[in-house]
């Protein structure tokens, strides 16, 4: 058999993967690629959510390949079979056709993905020091990584303007640049080809994000996207202690301490590896629990969007802020020192 030279991972909706798996299970050993795809379309799985139009050939192909790559199914003599694996069978048992996955089922799926050799080699390994690890190890011991893209390696706006001023701006042919996933300890994975970028940066990375294995922070364009494995043992006691320490460390003579929310989220996320949403909810709850000592300060989006030259990244940057309906984006939290007594009480 000809060895596959491209990576099989692509962005997919795992609810659809689960439903396709149920189709294979119901018709175990009966379906070829074409008939499986046809059945997927007829059952409303391999169709676009917004208008029901069947997916084109490429995404249909990728849905099949992801099932194969994750070892959920195997193809023997061009016929699809369920892989006789304990976890796969348990996953099928815990899920239902066309019904959302339960947290337990998602847990199994996470383990399958983290256990997959290709996913480890190209993505999860960079978070870990050791070579052998489980999902639990990744959550407990995984380091954060920084994503370095081609545009980050280009000269800054200031430098480019200076170059332009000095007529030194010689046009060079643009090259497709590598995406580098860097662990601060020095370990890194370089995604060099478009195939690798599609498979990992726009594939496995988003699987991990959507299945809540990892979370991401995007504070500034120059710093790059930070990805970290989520610690699922959330504790708001740790967060309140972190907050109180910040207040104690502020030695201004003011009754109020002002915290920049994205910076606070980043600091807490990197030290605790709690998810961004959990930290945001903690901050929102502070206003409800301590209304006399807390104040949310809104910001115009002008200075949020200034953080990146790329309009498509605006929403990623805005995600670092709290959002309140009717108020907008909240950039800062003002906390009265009185909260130190309130929390003790």
């Amino acid at each position: 058999m000809k060895k596959r030279e491209t990576l099989w991972m692509r962005y997919v909706d795992f609810e659809k993967i689960k439903d396709m798996l149920h189709l294979v299970y119901e018709n175990n050993g009966k379906l070829r690629a074409g008939t499986l795809e046809q059945l997927g379309i007829e059952e409303g799985i391999l169709v676009k959510k917004e208008n029901g139009i069947p997916l084109t050939h490429s995404p249909r192909y990728h849905y099949r390949k992801v099932m194969e790559g994750l070892d959920l199914v195997e193809v023997r003599e061009k016929i699809y079979h369920i892989l006789e694996d304990e976890r796969v069978l348990e996953f099928i048992e815990l899920t239902s056709f066309k019904k959302d996955m339960s947290p337990e089922a998602k847990g199994i799926l996470r383990e399958i993905i983290v256990g997959n050799n290709d996913c480890r080699k190209y993505f999860f390994d960079v978070f870990m020091e050791k070579d052998t690890y489980t999902l639990e190890d990744l959550r407990k011991e995984g380091e954060y990584i920084i994503v370095e893209t081609k545009s980050m390696r280009e000269p800054s706006a200031d430098k480019r303007m200076e170059q332009k001023k000095n007529n030194e701006n010689i046009r060079k042919k643009k090259k497709a640049g590598a995406v580098i996933l860097k662990n601060p300890s020095g370990k890194e994975i370089e995604l060099k080809t478009q195939d690798e970028i599609h498979a990992i940066y726009w594939g496995v990375r988003l699987w991990a994000l959507e299945l809540e294995m990892t979370d991401e922070i995007f504070m500034s364009f120059a710093e790059g996207r930070i990805i970290y494995p989520i610690n699922s043992d959330f504790s708001d006691k740790i967060l309140i202690n972190h907050l109180l320490n910040k207040i104690k460390a502020d030695n201004s003579d003011s009754e109020w301490v002002v915290l920049h929310i994205p910076t606070f989220i980043k600091e807490v996320a990197l030290s605790t590896r709690f998810s961004v949403d959990k930290i945001k909810n903690f901050l929102k709850d502070l206003k409800i629990k301590y209304p006399l000592s807390t104040m949310l300060i809104p910001s115009s989006t002008m200075f949020i969007d200034i953080k990146t030259p790329f309009e498509k990244q605006d929403s990623a940057f805005r995600d670092s802020y709290l959002y309140k309906q009717g108020i907008g984006y909240i950039s800062h939290l003002r906390i009265g020192r009185g909260i130190l007594k309130e929390v003790k009480a």
Binding site: A157, R160, H260, I297, F303
Partner: protein, 396 residues
């Protein structure tokens, strides 16, 4: 004729609070908490005598009183020190957008005339000396041809550079000379006048700082003041509806840097920027060295506007009520909270309420609805709480 309810019962000639509470017409002698006054006095003394930029930012969220502080307090503060203030609302990102606003504040005719008045004593007299000195309009009327205007511009630029010493740069001096003589054909400024490199432009290309220095010197000399203070409001908005491009980001920082450079030079230019916390943090993030020059590093000259204390909040309410108590019969109620209850602090617990704008809004709506419902004074706490919670729902 019987007295209206508001006069008879509330002892107010009208509802003194403005309904919108934002963009209010700022009057002089507005209520300013003493801690703000003290900080400003302290920064002035430090920066006036020290080296470095005569500049500091005012950082506060929407409604915290930045505009009021600039227009209602700092204007008088500087003018009492013979420093001319120029207020900029939503300044553009380009440096010359500021020049545009600045020069329009004075008007082309007035500003050109003022510089010409200073120049004319050094200009050679031509022909027979007349009984009455030549006026600015007479001089302009002699400049009908382009050649005449060009010759005069050269003459003026020589005086501007060598006699008035407004600049040491030929181009800057010539542009100022051009501004004066071209007033004959165009007595107003247009946007293109401030586009460097454009045909007939009045600004020098790549000499922003030198051009601005010359303008500042010209203002000081022609208006007989000791300095100039730029009061820049809402620097974060920068009059854009769309996101800033990389180029605009650069221009924003370059403008800030140029202003600081002018302020750091020998010219007595003061620069006070009002900005939101996010704008301040982001400017700091984009260029930490620039921010440190702006805030004088360890001196930390940043005026942070925080929620008022309960006492300050009460004083602010009294100040507004006084505005409707000028009539003789109402004067004895001045400096009183009436018709608000004396224990109004019970509704002023939440810090977001104790900002000037929310206090003024709550004041307006409470009085308006209490008058409409003919509520007997003092207006009950529950009544105020209901209005306050409607305007500013708790938990938000």
């Amino acid at each position: 004729m019987s007295e209206s309810f508001i006069v008879g019962k509330y002892k107010l000639s009208r509802n003194p609070f403005p309904p919108a509470a934002s963009g209010i017409d700022v009057e002089r002698d507005l209520y300013i908490p003493s801690k703000w006054e003290e900080k400003i006095g302290e920064y002035y003394e430090t920066l006036h005598h020290g080296e470095g930029a005569k500049a500091f930012p005012i950082v506060g969220e929407y409604g915290s009183g930045k505009t009021v502080l600039l227009k209602g307090y700092l204007k008088d503060f500087f003018e009492n020190k013979r420093i001319k203030t120029i207020y900029f609302e939503n300044p553009g990102v380009k440096f010359y957008d500021l020049a545009n606003t600045l020069m329009r504040t004075f008007g082309r005719y007035g500003f050109s005339k003022a510089i010409w008045e200073r120049c004319k004593e050094y200009l050679p007299e031509k022909g027979q000396r007349s009984l009455f000195p030549m006026s600015f309009s007479d001089m302009l009327s002699t400049l009908r041809t382009k050649i005449n205007r060009e010759n005069k511009a050269k003459e003026l630029s020589d005086v501007i550079k060598n006699k008035l010493n407004l600049t040491d740069e030929d181009e800057v001096a010539y542009r100022l000379g051009l501004m004066i003589v071209e007033t004959a054909s165009k007595p107003y400024f247009s946007y293109r006048d401030f586009v460097a490199g454009a045909k007939g432009s009045l600004v020098a290309e790549r000499e922003e700082s030198k051009y601005f220095k010359a303008i500042i010197k010209a203002i000081i000399k022609t208006y007989s003041v000791e300095g100039v203070a730029f009061l820049l409001d809402e620097f974060e908005e920068i009059a854009f509806h769309k996101r800033m491009t990389r180029k605009q980001t650069y221009e924003y920082l370059a403008t800030l840097r140029s202003l600081i450079e002018v302020s750091e030079s020998e010219e007595n230019l003061w620069m006070i920027l009002a900005m939101t916390p996010e704008a301040a943090d982001e400017t700091k993030e984009m260029n930490i060295a620039l921010w440190e020059r702006f805030t004088h590093q360890r001196k930390e000259t940043v005026l942070k506007l925080e929620p008022l204390t309960e006492e300050e909040s009460k004083n602010l309410i009294k100040w507004w009520l006084n505005g409707a108590r000028d009539e003789e019969k109402l004067k004895k109620y001045r400096n009183k909270l009436f018709p608000f209850p004396e224990d109004i602090e019970r509704v002023l617990q939440r810090p977001e309420i104790r900002l000037p704008r929310p206090l003024v809004r709550i004041g307006f709506f409470t009085l308006a609805r209490a008058e409409e419902g003919e509520i007997e004074p003092p207006v009950p706490i529950d009544f105020i709480t209901k209005i306050m919670d409607e305007l500013y729902p708790p938990g938000k």
